[in-house]
């Protein structure tokens, strides 16, 4: 019954397998008035996508179990209603090829976790403003 309770503008889908990182992002986003739906792996993310309305944004870890970030981005962009949902890749890695590929295949932004939670939050707000 999630569909009835959640407002599109407030919800962020967080796909992140590292629990402490997920807790940190959730804490910051909830403090700023957003609601976070958390998927711990690729399969759970796909299941959740069937259960919720398109969120305000997706934060997507590149390396998660079962389906990686590239596969998940493809699924997100192919899903009706999700084509324009802003997607920010949040990764522990900063390989130039990965960054180029994710942006080419439809991600709106790519941020490296080591830049810190403040920067992740700042870039998310920027992305949402641009998408508004």
């Amino acid at each position: 019954m999630r569909k009835q309770k959640e407002k599109k503008k407030d919800v962020v889908l967080l796909i992140e397998d590292e629990q402490d990182t997920a807790d940190l992002i959730r804490l910051h986003l909830e403090k700023s008035g957003m609601s976070v739906v958390h998927a711990r792996d690729g399969r759970q993310a796909v299941n959740i996508m069937e259960d919720i309305l398109p969120p305000r944004a997706v934060l997507l870890d590149l390396v998660v179990p079962y389906l990686n970030g590239f596969e998940l981005l493809k699924i997100i962009r192919a899903k009706a209603g999700w084509e324009q949902v802003p997607v920010m890749v949040v990764s522990g890695d900063s390989y130039a090829e990965d960054i180029k590929r994710m942006l080419r295949e439809g991600a709106n932004d790519y941020i490296v976790k080591s830049w810190g939670i403040g920067e992740i939050h700042h870039r998310l707000r920027q992305m949402l403003e641009q998408a508004a």
Binding site: E18, G92, V112, K113, I117
Partner: protein
């Protein structure tokens, strides 16, 4: 000391101090406990020559460290992850010793909440 070796060692000048945003404070005790547990997990994996587990755990720690502001953890975990990709057990062992020592002695100072949230 070459950079690769340096990345595996805690600072040599007494205690390391990390400044972390106060907004993160409620999560830091669990964060530190989990990192110490992960060192134990990786040590057991290394003993079993299970480099894939070492690589996976180190990758997660690399991301988590920087997110919280523990750049040194990220740096050391990245070195361990890289060594695990190449199955270099000796480097992993040295890295885990350094990481374990660092986690035992690091001090955290919580700065005023400047996150703006």
């Amino acid at each position: 000391m070459d950079p690769a070796h340096s990345a595996l060692q805690p600072a040599s000048h007494g205690k390391d101090i990390v400044h972390v945003d106060a907004s993160v404070a409620p999560l830091v005790p669990k964060f530190m406990t989990n990192r110490k547990n992960e060192v134990t997990t990786m040590q057991a994996a290394l003993a079993a020559q299970d480099f894939e587990t070492v690589r996976t755990v180190a990758h997660g720690m690399k991301g988590a460290g920087g997110s919280y502001g523990f750049d040194r953890i990220t740096e050391m975990a990245a070195t361990i992850e890289h060594a695990a990709k190449s199955d270099v057990g000796a480097t992993i062992g040295t890295g885990l010793n350094g990481l374990g020592s660092y986690l035992k002695q690091v001090d955290v100072i919580f700065d005023e909440d400047v996150s703006g949230v």
